[in-house]
Subunit: 180 residues, 2 copies
DNA sequence: GCTGTCATGTAACAGGTTACATGATTCG
DNA sequence: CGAATCATGTAACCTGTTACATGACAGC
């Protein structure tokens, strides 16, 4: 139970419609959380029912109306309470890791190729994050408050990609093409 | 859909009962996958029904009987097919990361303390993984096949903990106690 | 007219979590 | 005798995914 809270965070940063939230989840917030629009619509409806959000219908020129959600006073309280609550260390779930471990029960060369594909993808993501950092935070030293928090989470995204690149590189260097 | 496959991997390494698998998932395999015993029992039953596993009841002295599962020929084929299939890069889901980003909407000092607690936990895990590596793989250079694969996944566990330690340390150094 | 995008949703299903139940045995 | 461990499971619930549906407008 935390999509609610991730949505409260996103909406405190800026009120938005369901689709806008889904798009935002594929970028900034999405380093460490993800959700599809279907899931977001469902949860938004529940949150509105619980009084955590307010809605207003916004007419747009040349586009369908949208429902813009904002966090209510009750929602702010829920968010503050959640922030103060204990949080356990979640296990990372990686299908690729299971495959790396299992390589000897199938086509080892194929598993290597999967690792290479993932490595390329992580390189691309790292480059994208570096670009975001350069664009949005040209002077990190001077950041404060919510801006600094967002920058530091982007730093986490960078470091996570570096983790993958480091590990997969080690894997690929240690195992070699046509091996036992 | 991959708990099935993680279980096939675990059972190919060594036949086991449901509870033994649950315990194993909290260690070795569990760096990158996790499941509770309830979930494991449910999935084992389905896999047996699908003919991926064989079972035999093993009597034990001073303990209840256990059902020991092993992978059937059909199960081996399923595993090999899955290994060759494409795997997408999964997003990491971290409640703590969302809280770090949201610190300015609640008690910032409290969020810092959560980060400190997680940092301590990751230090402890890293130490445990280093101990495992030293105990189980005293001579990594000479490893081959499945042993080398298992070692390399343990290396991933080590690197993942280093990621957390690096990031949370950066976070704690950049934000300071009684700050805006 | 067709395709693509914006925008919101429903329905069915698969996967995962939490709580509880049972029964035997060992250990203090 | 009570608590802890071993072992297997059921039931209810919550979360997340996939597929599909609708309608309006923009651009080719």
């Amino acid at each position: 139970m935390a999509l609610e809270h991730a949505l409260l965070v996103a909406l405190r940063e800026r009120p938005a419609s369901g689709l806008e939230l889904a798009r935002r989840f594929d970028r900034s917030i999405g380093f460490f959380w993800h959700a599809t629009h279907q899931q977001i619509y469902r949860v938004l409806a529940r949150m509105e029912g619980d009084g955590w959000l307010t809605v207003r219908t916004v007419a747009q020129s040349g586009r369908p109306d949208k429902k813009e959600y904002d966090v209510s006073a009750a929602g702010r309280e829920v968010l503050a309470d959640w922030l103060a609550a204990d949080t356990t260390v979640e296990p990372l779930r990686s299908e690729l890791a299971v495959k790396l471990r299992a390589a000897s029960y199938g086509d080892r060369a194929r598993v290597r190729r999967l690792a290479e594909e993932h490595l390329a993808e992580h390189h691309a993501r790292l480059a994208a994050y570096h670009r975001m950092a350069a664009d949005q935070y040209p002077d990190p030293e001077s950041l404060t408050g919510a801006d600094r928090d967002r920058f530091l989470v982007l730093r986490g995204g960078v470091r996570l990609e570096e983790f993958w690149i480091g590990w997969l590189s080690e894997y690929l260097e240690t195992t070699t093409e046509g091996q036992r």
